[in-house]
């Protein structure tokens, strides 16, 4: 399927391996990515905190650019983008007068957002558009014996009504469903739906790192081999900052954290190196032996 693809900023900045991994798995899943290279940052909630109209306009512009493509929908690979964009979209879709006002801000460029674009994170797209069975049939290297802790973070699971999480679409269970379909074992631990702490890293560093450190520690206590997250900002606090988080909580950590497309890519038979896994601060390549067809933790 063709999608208007919004990679976000961090996937092209401090977690370049995420953007790369997405590019690798897309052809294997028959996803054609029409990259929105003129779009801007979603604001990550911070621009909305500064000026709501500004955030809504920037995202309306992104939606309008997506609507100009012939993609069936818009896809993102960042939970924070999903959450921030859904928040703006909720306002834009709820009120015609407001939408017109925001569209007036885009008129110089000749753009206009029409109500009702579908914007799905890769996680949702995998389950709802491609389907778990289809995915299962594509698995070349089942993640047998790999114990994976799902880490959703916040933006992709709350608020449930805005994100349309309900019985028909239990989007807050998709990571678990996916891990199972890929052949892995789901780890149940306390941190799966908690905050990684990233948004307050510059304001209250100790509280921020304590959050990351606790969740990683909880997952280790539950005997996870790794975590998987659909959010590159969570990845920054869980992986990049993990040595500092370990210091903050006063224990050894060293738990690899995978981006969602990396986990999918491994099961589809791609090489860990190709998926950029050597670029993590906690190198999954040194902790887990991915070379055998049956993935097994070495630790």
């Amino acid at each position: 399927m063709k999608v208007a693809y919004w990679p976000g900023c961090v996937s092209r900045g401090f977690t370049p391996e995420l953007h790369g991994a997405m590019a690798k798995i897309a052809p294997l899943l028959d996803i054609e990515l029409l990259e929105l290279d003129r779009a801007s940052c979603c604001g990550a909630g911070v621009i909305a905190e500064h000026n709501q109209e500004l955030a809504d306009t920037l995202n309306a512009r992104t939606f309008a650019l997506a609507q100009q493509t012939d993609g069936a929908m818009m896809m993102n690979i960042c939970s924070t983008c999903q959450g921030s964009q859904s928040e703006c979209q909720e306002r834009l879709d709820a009120n015609g007068e407001y939408r017109e006002h925001i569209n007036a801000n885009l008129s110089d460029e000749g753009l206009s957002y029409q109500r009702g674009i579908e914007n799905k994170n890769l996680l949702w797209l995998l389950v709802e558009e491609i389907g778990l069975e289809e995915l299962r049939s594509k698995v070349k290297r089942p993640l047998e014996n790999l114990r994976v802790g799902p880490f959703y973070g916040c933006y992709i699971v709350r608020p449930t009504d805005r994100l349309k999480i309900d019985e028909a679409n239990p989007r807050d269970t998709y990571l678990q469903l996916l891990i199972e379909v890929l052949g892995g074992t789901v780890i149940d631990y306390a941190g799966a739906y908690r905050c990684c702490g990233f948004p307050i890293i510059t304001m209250n560093k100790s509280a921020s790192l304590k959050q990351a450190g606790r969740h990683i520690g909880d997952a280790i206590d539950a005997e996870a081999d790794c975590l998987v997250t659909p959010c590159p900002l969570c990845h920054l606090n869980l992986d990049l900052q993990q040595p500092l988080a370990a210091r903050e909580v006063g224990r050894d950590l060293g738990l690899p954290v995978l981006h969602l497309p990396q986990l999918v890519g491994l099961a589809l038979g791609l090489d860990p190196g190709e998926l950029g896994m050597a670029r993590h601060v906690v190198k999954p390549t040194t902790v887990i032996d991915w070379s055998t067809s049956v993935v097994a933790a070495t630790g």
Partner: protein, 372 residues
Amino acid sequence: MPEYTLKIRRFSPESGEAAYWANYTTELEGHRSVLEGILNVKDREDGSIAIRCSCRAAICGSCGVKINGKPMLACNTHLEWAKSTSRDGAITVEPMGNMPVIKDLIVDMDAVHWKKIQRVTPWLLPDGPPPEREYIVPHENMVDVTQTMACIQCGACVSDCLSMEVDPLFIGPAALAKAYRFVGDPRDGQHLERLKDLSEDPHGIYDCTHCFNCIEACPKGVAPMSQIMRLRRIAGSDHGIDDRNNGHRHEMAFVNNIRRNGLLHEADLLPDSYGGKFHPRAVPELLDSLPVITRALMRRKVTPKSALVHSHKAPKEVKGIFERIEGKDERLELNLYVSGEEKSDEQAPGVPPDAAGGDGQATSSGPQKARG
């Protein structure tokens, strides 16, 4: 009559024993509340179960508990729904989080919740002598604070606050929502003082980690996190309060970063949040992060070139949007709690627009579709 299993967390401090789970069964219709279930068990099986309750109509805020791990009002939760969302058919009921447990399902609201409410001076501080007759307040101002006034002080948001979990001193969602109730009230004469106080407090408005748990937990739609963001907007954008917590600086560093680059250039964000690479505040922070920076360079997550050279520049259209909106005299805000949502039978949200279809998908000819 259907039977429900209630798995209740019991704790009695005078017993000297640790908290434990106990199962009870109750026969009630599915539309009856979890509170009725608990009271039924208490009446017929074990009178020692402790729970606080009063109105049984979701208005007094007494019976906040965690049901299947999530904070809610026991009187406002149907047994059948609770069963359907439970893990294994047994409805778990436990005391709320982030507050000490007094007994069973009763938590010490005084020690945490009320103390924090008092922290924000939860009364009007008018300027000058009171008018001869009543205060006249414009209707739109009262509508604006209605959302926060809907709070029934049940503590559900406090229970689930993820910032408070790691920083118990955080003023927290309920109290900060209460603070907005006065910052948004034109009769109050101490707006600036309140905002300065809440910005400068290391556990104030900038200590919120933006996790949405309070929005999800609130049974009254108060959306405490949204009120905290409004406080930040007013403190930062309107009053330019330069707090010691880097809150406003971080916000401006982020906004200006996007204004310049269109996309976030992270390498600048951290130092800019502390006032710039060479600012005395930034130096210890950067030194502290040196091991992280070194590793990121070693792993080629970041290259010296990508850290220093801004490869992406904001398209002029994006720059234009910043100029246009920031040049306006007034900030525009849409609060769906106040405005409500437009109902459209012709086109439900989620239906792909014309542009995305191309394969004959049905689209409406409603008024919104006429433009463009």
